[in-house]
Assembly symmetry: none
Homo-oligomer: 415 residues x 2
Amino acid sequence: MSPVPRVAVLLTGSELLDGRVHDCNGATVASSLAARGARVTHVLTVPDDARQIVAALRFSLDQDLSLLVVSGGLGTTHDDLTTAAVAEAVGRDLAEDAQALAWIEERTRAICRSRRLAFAPAFAQMRRQALLPAGSRPLPPAGAAPGFALVVGDTTVVVLPGVPAELEPMWAALVDDLQQQGFFPSLRTRTVRIFGAGEIQVAPVVASSAHGLLDVGVTAAAGEVTVCLRHAGGEEAEAQANRLVAGLAEQLPVFSTDGRTVDELVADRLRALDATVAAAESCTGGLLGARLTALAGSSDYFVGGVVSYANEVKQSLLQVSAATIAAHGAVSEEVALDMARGVVAVTGATFGMATTGIAGPGGGTPDKPVGLVYVAVAGPDMRRAERHLFRGDRETVRVQSVTAALHLLLQAMGT
Amino acid sequence: MSPVPRVAVLLTGSELLDGRVHDCNGATVASSLAARGARVTHVLTVPDDARQIVAALRFSLDQDLSLLVVSGGLGTTHDDLTTAAVAEAVGRDLAEDAQALAWIEERTRAICRSRRLAFAPAFAQMRRQALLPAGSRPLPPAGAAPGFALVVGDTTVVVLPGVPAELEPMWAALVDDLQQQGFFPSLRTRTVRIFGAGEIQVAPVVASSAHGLLDVGVTAAAGEVTVCLRHAGGEEAEAQANRLVAGLAEQLPVFSTDGRTVDELVADRLRALDATVAAAESCTGGLLGARLTALAGSSDYFVGGVVSYANEVKQSLLQVSAATIAAHGAVSEEVALDMARGVVAVTGATFGMATTGIAGPGGGTPDKPVGLVYVAVAGPDMRRAERHLFRGDRETVRVQSVTAALHLLLQAMGT
């Protein structure tokens, strides 16, 4: 087994720091490295500023890395400064690389043909991309700009273009190479998902189970807690992982020990039962349907639903009685149950789900505060409702409502 | 005018580097600082590893910053290491802060009440969050963990929790404080929004208008192009901004010159007309309703709708005829128009919107490929449909469909 390699990512581009572009290269590169068992020491984003790029390179080269992946700033405009910054940071001269130049000439001819531009002036501008730090190995371009790799001490520095459509195929090819060279350690991952307990309840369970050979990560989001265990294999590490997973499953409301999300479990269970589902939504406004249809192939089990934001729509399309709304209010267990039954009646689905609540920021009362949400499920010979009081802003309350409704359905379907 | 402050963001959390969580705090903090005219020197993400956090803090404190914002690692589990790392990096001891402790006690009591846990053991675990580096000012928590601020040389270091629902309100309060203290340079911003033209058409319009005194950012997302102009004030800069905005409005399909989004414009127009709207959704599965209800107060104009994923639901709940579906297919202009009319009929809304299309990845044919989407609007004495062929994955196609439907409604309502 290889030792765990330390790796890092350096992204250059002012547009990544001022909100114009939401970076995805950092996530692409870091998560593919982490998934293969490398230890990502950092992801660092800096603007198109030579001083900042050099400082970021020096910091990165100081972290005992096996691999540093740099992206962005390889083009031909005034703000493409990365290659020169790498040369400066590692104290090497720039020299024109014959292989890189040949690739650039070929690409420039293709671009000039398709855009009907004169070759000579375009090539004069493009050829500066063949200037690489001395000792670099050029990497074949996916678009116009070649990348390059060079070895600095114990660190391999790989420099790629920032355009995701160019970076992604070049990066995929590099990862394959690294894999074949045995760069990555063998690694096992277990993911445990919990609904109905907070991080505060998870921490003591983790602490009480030996986990010295495991890398344990705990994350809370949208009402769920996820525990990720990773280890390098071996009998004792496997045993620690098994004991920790068993301990979590015993003491906490664990709903998944194989990594599947509640969305995937609901989809799998509906398919196994050959059942369908429909959604009746008030405070979530369509978010539950959107989430039920986010997975490809959801038409196998999702038939549709009703968004009954106004009480009149609850009555006309879901057959909720005016008397029930008058007696209990639209945000009530009774209305949630009637909505779930109503959407089964009008769509013919096996299961009906419902949400009704106060997402805020307005609309709360002392009796029915912002964050009060009822979710309900109706199915063959069953109906069930749950009351929740969620914290957070409008979006957070809505997302938690959807998650709670999915869990109620999953529980209602049994296993 | 204040000089331009140098600022940076440090994110801690292993989950941000291994693909478990897609960070949004970095974008939230960096873009709000950049929008106010600060210079963001870097965004640095490191795992829950004390050595890495200390190295990242030292690197950041070396960049002549006015402000360093740190997020994550303030909780109570074994991998919450940020506070201790800050203390180590700046050479200060940890001491229990009375104000922080009072806040934590209050929050712990609330959590224990709602989760029915014993207070004493929970508080014993939570109170370590009151240990702050000497000289820190505690910041009131939005969730369980207080933040803190401390001054190190010329740099103010602000440390906030990593959970976005906690960070966002705490960060919003801090930005307000900084604004009032005159931390940001004075800066004027104009935002122009375009729907129906690409970046390639926007670039020459920008190039043809003098903009030497403006900072111009162009971003494309979800079928819209946004042009942001920023300048430091002054008559000539104002004139450049006005001429560029006028040029864009003259030559391109600009729908907003005051920063309002299509969502806000639709909401404002519906309120002005005292009109209501309902949504009939197929491929978007509820996403259109979710977006129409994302703004607080949407019950003023949104009554609800029908998610008609299955053809049977299009017929039973939206009165789309089986003959129309058989003749033209569910993904057709005719069905989109019938869905829009149907949702008006069943809800009584003033306007009905509809989406039907093939979001992919499966389900495409040569005649009706993945990405083919019809959007429609029906209103008093009008109905209109549009055919779109969107590129991108399932989620991208669905989001673009919603945006296109909103623009069609906005146009249908006139101004």
